[in-house]
């Protein structure tokens, strides 16, 4: 899974859950400040990301993932040897 693929998948999830158009989900965006996504939507996004990428994002990690790039990095790092 490339970073681009993770970003595209994440953008789809965010569009579905938070109604933010997928093309606005770019790496530098902050969930809270730019995309207006609250902590409960972040939990829903984490759950959907687990279904899609097979990577669990626990609540205690979630609070440190503030930008789209942070989530992409976390998924990429924890996706294991799926290549």
């Amino acid at each position: 899974m490339t970073d681009q693929e993770i970003l595209a998948g994440l953008a789809e999830i965010i569009e579905e859950i938070a109604g933010v158009p997928a093309d606005e989900v770019t790496p530098s965006k902050s969930f809270v400040d730019d995309l207006d996504i609250d902590s409960l939507s972040m939990v829903e996004i984490a759950v959907a990301a687990q279904d899609k990428f097979g990577v669990e994002i626990p609540d205690d990690q979630l609070k440190d993932l503030t930008t789209v790039q942070d989530v992409v990095n976390y998924v990429a790092k924890n996706a294991g040897s799926t290549a």
């Binding site: 409960l40 939990v43 984490a46 759950v47 609540d59």
Partner: protein, 322 residues
């Protein structure tokens, strides 16, 4: 004294009753005492207003009010009730129990009477127990009451809980099905996740309730839709054929997420929380009584109930609307 009855082929709900205290508390009222806003409360939990009981109004008082309405709507004389089950987790004291005192005040003479605590899942647990009692013949008519004064245990200055929880009661009368009538209370699918119990707790009788909102949200939106789906399967009712999905009114965001994952359209989701708040075990029968009173639910239609909360206890069943 109650005696045993012939076992019934099945059980059904005969009537509902609901009670909310008179004191309406709006989001604006809460912003006057804690740092929050109407927008924040509506967007996070979906509540616009709720009711708080007065200082002298007890869990038992509200149980009597709701139980009396359900009893009157059933058309049965009080003497026909053999068993009273009260679901509550917010009573002022453990002794005496709510069920026996409420029964006495409703002129139900010497019924079996016990309380159960399965927190917000309490009504569904009590309904399952009532159905089993009727089917087994240990009772013929059961008054099930869920009554909660959550404000007994909520810190009025804790903005994470005081905006959510509220007071109220709901009740149902359960009896045997008539000859040739379909089962009216489907098989219960229930369980618990005690490993998560510390996420919602009142540590002792001198403490306020504590809740880890984010962890509870994650559990509720991931663990429960398969339970609800299994209750439909066991009742032989397709999700598409449900007239209503009536989950515990925990938080609008949680129940919308469960409904979405279950495949229930938004218009069939009970959203009584908007004007009732989270009344723990009372929320399901309170919603049902209002929906049937308004004519939103046609007699004979199928409603899926899903209780869930502290413990973490959960229970689901499909019922036929009286």
């Amino acid at each position: 004294m109650s005696s045993a009855f012939p076992p019934a082929r099945g059980a059904r709900i005969l009537s509902f009753g609901g009670y909310q205290p008179g004191n309406v508390v709006t989001n604006a009222d809460l912003t006057a005492r804690v740092d929050t806003s109407d927008d924040w409360i509506r967007s996070r939990v979906g509540i616009v207003s709720r009711r708080f009981a007065g200082p002298d109004e007890t869990v038992t008082d509200m149980a009597v009010a709701a139980g009396g309405k359900a009893l009157a709507a059933s058309g049965l004389p009080p003497g026909d009730i053999d068993l009273v089950i009260a679901a509550t987790c917010s009573d002022e004291a453990d002794i005496p129990n709510v069920a026996a005192v409420a029964a006495y005040r409703l002129a139900i003479v010497a019924p079996g009477a016990y309380d159960i605590n399965a927190a917000c899942a309490g009504f569904c647990y009590a309904l399952a127990s009532a159905s089993d009692a009727v089917r087994a013949g240990s009772a013929r008519h059961v008054l099930v009451i869920a009554s909660e004064k959550m404000t007994n245990w909520i810190d009025p200055e804790d903005r994470s809980t005081c905006i959510i929880f509220a007071d109220g009661a709901g009740a149902a009368v359960v009896g045997p099905v008539a000859d040739g009538e379909r089962e009216g209370i489907g098989p219960v699918v229930w369980g618990s996740a005690g490993d998560l119990a510390p996420r919602i707790a009142i540590p002792d009788r001198r403490s306020y309730m504590y809740q880890e909102g984010q962890a509870v949200f994650r559990w509720a939106t991931t663990a429960l839709h398969p339970i609800a789906a299994r209750a439909c399967e066991r009742a032989g009712v397709a999700v598409a054929d449900l007239a209503a999905f009536v989950p515990h009114q925990a938080n609008l965001r949680i129940i919308e997420a469960i409904a979405r994952r279950l495949g229930v359209p938004r218009e069939r989701l009970a959203d009584d929380i908007i004007h009732a708040g989270n009344t723990s075990s009372a929320s399901i029968p309170l919603a049902l009584s209002r929906m049937t009173e308004r004519g939103d639910l046609k007699p004979g239609s199928a409603a899926l109930l899903l209780g869930f909360g502290a413990g973490m206890c959960y229970a689901a069943q499909v019922v036929t609307v009286p």
